[in-house]
């Protein structure tokens, strides 16, 4: 009797939204832990393989060209427009309030410390990270990764190493070029909006920026380049179940990369600026 009542309660509970929400949360949590574990284990495998340098200079150059050259136009556009918007928003007001001498400094610090890196990161994730994830995911669902394994080649070493090395090297270059572009864009916008002279703007830039900002910017961009490529490759490698799986893996790579670089950005800000 008691058993029957318990069974009915269990059946009722399983039909409630509370239970369904709980199961959904449980599945998401499981998926999160599995993905985190996969990224960590593949990252470890990447580092283990580095001692034998399991790639070629040609592969690194191919990936670097894809990472740097292909992404530069969109990165420059995004970072450039962001700095123009910032300059347009603040230059007029600051000049009116007598703070014209600080516009360059404000734009440059924002660009070098935050906007240049994070906007470039977002652009790289959308353009390069997603393409890497979908490429590897397609290879996974079409058994190309299995073929690599059967041919006794480690797919992590063959596919990840050139991409991660290229991302880690090229990201600082892309960030430096786009931040410079942003600072120059800010100068043009400030001049057009408030009549601020280029000399006053750039004097303010030299006054406000210091080597510490630039060093942290480079360090941050190196870490962003590393995590974006690692996450994109690892999420691609998790793909299963055909075309739908490729889409899921690509979305996961983009979301995970976005969240990770924002968390990293917070950690960098906490360590280096407070």
């Amino acid at each position: 009797m008691c058993g029957k009542i318990l069974l009915k309660v269990r059946i009722y509970y399983k039909s409630t939204y509370t239970y369904k929400l709980f199961k959904m949360f449980q599945a998401e949590l499981e998926s999160f832990i599995i993905t985190l574990g996969n990224i960590a284990s593949m990252g470890l495998d990447f580092f283990k393989g580095l001692k034998n340098f399991p790639t070629t200079f040609k592969s690194i150059m191919e990936q670097s060209s894809r990472f740097g050259v292909s992404s530069l136009p969109i990165t420059l556009s995004i970072v450039g427009m962001t700095s123009i918007i910032i300059a347009m928003q603040v230059a007029g007001e600051m000049v009116k309030q007598g703070g014209g001498n600080y516009v360059g400094m404000l734009v440059a610090i924002l660009m070098v410390r935050e906007e240049g890196v994070i906007m470039a990161g977002f652009a790289i994730i959308s353009m390069i990270g997603s393409s890497m994830a979908s490429e590897i995911a397609t290879m996974k669902v079409t058994e190309q990764i299995d073929a690599i394994k059967v041919l006794k080649v480690n797919p992590i070493h063959y596919l990840f190493t050139p991409r991660i090395i290229a991302g880690t090297i090229m990201m600082p270059l892309v960030v430096i070029i786009s931040s410079l572009f942003g600072v120059v864009g800010g100068a043009i916008a400030s001049n057009l909006v408030s009549g601020l002279t280029y000399k006053a703007y750039f004097d303010s830039v030299w006054f406000g920026l210091n080597m510490h900002d630039i060093n942290v910017c480079i360090l941050k961009s190196i870490s962003f380049g590393f995590v974006i490529t690692l996450i994109s490759c690892a999420c691609g490698m998790e793909a299963k179940d055909g075309a739908k799986g490729v889409g899921v893996a690509t979305t996961k790579a983009v979301v995970w990369s976005f969240v990770t670089i924002v968390i990293l950005d917070l950690i960098f800000a906490a360590i280096f600026f407070y």
Binding site: N52, E135, M139, E143, Q144, D146, K152, V153
Partner: protein, 239 residues
């Protein structure tokens, strides 16, 4: 010796996919594994090639490389035919740097010649027909001179003439490499034209083992249903 499989067991999520499967294939012989979809045929190949880990049982080989030809070729679409075929020679840790560019070109040309596709080194997989892609994947498989070659539904998706051509190449490669070969297939024509022996699986169990002639003559309900391609019989597609 080729390859010997003893008491192989594999489960996925508590579901038994292979239950105590045993067979042996000698060098220069072809075993055809047949059965309906989901009977565990491809799992056998994945276990032998190391793509999956067995739960228990033994896989004994005479050493040397194991090559696999995938159902849809699995050529690397970003690489041309030359790089696809020489992939293992260029990228494998123990072979990297062992061959000069000239030697690689010679080896690739030889292998392409063996599959009747000389001179297509610079083409990309997307420029080839399904049958040609399959033959390039044969050339890629034999580049390291393997002792065991596994074929996963080699004629799937091909027209009858291309299928016949592929079947001929399976026999030709067996003769030229003396490798022990295992061909997973659904098609009677492939069994008749290539196999020295046949193993039929159903629900992870071996329900027939013998020669292709025995398969055609056997009066068991499983073999009769398979040979007649009948939906009536002990084997259910969802079973």
């Amino acid at each position: 010796m080729g390859i010997e499989v003893k008491n192989l067991i594999k489960t996925f999520d508590k579901k038994v996919i292979l239950d105590n499967i045993s067979f042996k294939v000698d060098d220069g012989k072809i075993l055809s594994i047949v059965g309906f979809s989901g009977s565990g045929k491809s799992t056998v190949l994945k276990l032998i090639s190391g793509l999956l880990e067995k739960d228990s049982g033994e896989i004994i080989t005479s050493g040397g490389d194991i090559a696999m030809v995938f159902q849809y070729s699995a050529l690397f679409d970003s690489l041309n035919v030359f790089d696809n075929i020489s992939f293992a020679l260029q990228e494998r840790k123990d072979l990297r740097g062992k061959y000069t560019k000239k030697e690689l070109e010679k080896i690739v040309a030889e292998k392409l010649d063996m599959v009747g596709l000389a001179g297509i080194e610079n083409k990309y997989p997307s420029e080839l027909s399904g049958g040609m892609q399959k033959r390039v994947s044969f050339a890629r498989a034999i580049v390291t001179e393997p002792k065991i070659i596994l074929y996963d539904e080699p004629t799937a998706g091909l027209d009858p003439i291309s299928s016949t051509l592929i079947e001929d190449y399976i026999v030709r490669l067996k003769n030229e490499t003396n490798a022990a070969s295992i061909v997973v297939t659904h098609q009677m024509s492939t069994i008749k034209r290539t196999a020295d022996s046949v193993l039929m699986l159903y629900n992870g169990h071996a329900v027939f083992e013998g020669t292709p002639e025995d398969l055609l003559k056997a009066e068991t309900p499983y073999t009769k249903q398979f040979v007649d391609a009948s939906i009536e019989g002990p084997m259910k597609m969802n079973g």
